[in-house]
Symmetry: none
Subunit: 242 residues, 2 copies
DNA sequence: TAGCACCTATAGCAGCGTTATATGAAGTGG
DNA sequence: CCACTTCATATAACGCTGCTATAGGTGCTA
């Protein structure tokens, strides 16, 4: 197709648009800036992409296919639930790495005219969830699960993007991720052979019990026993690893 | 201040902007449309609001205070968890009722310059959650819980707005809502004022923890401690009255 | 050489947000 | 009743935007 000499105008337009979109921090980028940076005049842009939005869609599509590729090379772990976590984190990371692209993809939501890749992201997630369902780990349909997970994932990512990079706290992501996953999937007991860290479920259960005990003291334990019990429970509830 | 005769230009601008924003389905609304609809010329707009965005902020602020008022008149149920559900649903409903406003508020997220009401929405939710925490129903700090809930809430609402109104399935909202709430709060099998027993949930939690501990032994407890802990757990798991 | 696609450039339109400047109206002190 | 400030509105225009009607190369196939 092309030697290394100089990319075709179409490519230059794509790169210039991507670069300017990345630099100018969320503010709109004009077609004139883009065409000038690509050393090209306006009609060239419209000849190749028909539209400013067409160009942006193309830019997004490029970044998005890169994202999807990364996802595809990700999900071979064999543990469906762990795959879900990885995809969630990958989604968030993609949003933080390419906030401009991400906002175009998910922030600019208009009924109709919404980038088709949102749908394909949903489809892909649904595929991963179907595998989880096949392993009898899902408690709802993959379709519903995918929508719920994607919605929460987008919400979290938008919120993280919105706040200054310094103050970002990924705990928000991890917490919401676990919330949605645990609502959608069974808590994957069962297969400890390969599982080195089943701790999350223990922690969750410990927290639950701890909370339950706050409102009702069981009479099966003496008060001194209960005191020590609660102390241990507290210790378990504080996850050490991860 | 004003008779019923005719509103002041400032008011007319606000109303015209709100109306046009509502009608024109997500497409941008120009200042010229607005000023013309308000039977006013451009400088009047800039005199009163300084900016197009200033005008839009004012419009959003109006709708948002209405929303916040509705929320405030809502949260007197006395049951913190049920309050959370109501606020979640109210949030979603507001988004579906005023999608244009909603998108300006939560969709247009740019670092800096983001409408201050997002912060106040978060603060308000945190307030509700603080009440839940006071009732010992929270398993995380109200701050974190508020951020997580709001993120998921926004994500769900955006997704619902994005899809055609006919196809909207509020199940997505309910499902995600329960997921986040149950991750953030204890499941508080209703113990209203009368019944302070609540043993079932304790038993259930104990059983869950017991089960979880079977597959993964925490390293926070020594083996002898764990032995006694499990014994007590076993005792708690056995209902006294059976 | 002619014809034909394809790609790019010149020049310009209508619309946008915004503003420098000027005019009107309304209250206040002399 | 007049000067005076103060606020609110209007005229006209600037620089920018996305976009395009039209025309001019360029390289291929015949």
């Amino acid at each position: 197709m092309k030697k290394g000499g100089e990319p075709a105008p179409k490519t230059r337009l794509l790169r210039a648009a991507a670069a300017l979109l990345a630099e100018s921090n969320g503010e709109p980028v004009s077609t004139r800036q883009i065409t000038q940076a690509a050393r090209v005049t306006a009609p060239t842009l419209y000849h190749h992409f028909g539209d400013k939005e067409g160009l942006f869609d193309a830019v997004v599509a490029e970044g998005f296919s890169e994202y999807l590729d990364a996802e595809r090379n990700l999900s071979a772990s064999g543990q469906p639930i762990e795959d879900l976590r990885m995809h969630w984190d990958n989604h968030v990371q993609f949003g933080l790495d390419h906030p401009h692209l991400y906002l175009v993809m998910f922030g600019n939501i208009r009924p109709e005219r919404r980038p088709s890749m949102v749908a394909s992201a949903e489809a892909f997630l649904e595929e991963v969830l179907a595998r989880a369902a096949a392993a009898a780990r899902l408690v709802v349909s993959p379709h519903e699960a995918a929508r719920s997970m994607l919605a929460a994932n987008v919400g979290v990512t938008l919120m993280l993007i919105a706040e200054p990079a310094a103050k970002r706290n990924l705990e928000l992501s991890a917490m919401t991720r676990e919330a949605v996953i645990s609502a959608v999937a069974t808590d994957s007991e069962g297969d400890p052979t390969t599982d080195t860290e089943g701790t999350p479920s223990v922690v969750v259960a410990a927290i639950a019990l701890n909370a339950a005990l706050q409102s009702s003291h069981p009479d099966q334990l003496s008060s001194s026993e209960l005191k020590l019990f609660l102390e241990w429970l507290q210790r378990i509830s504080t996850r050490s690893g991860s």
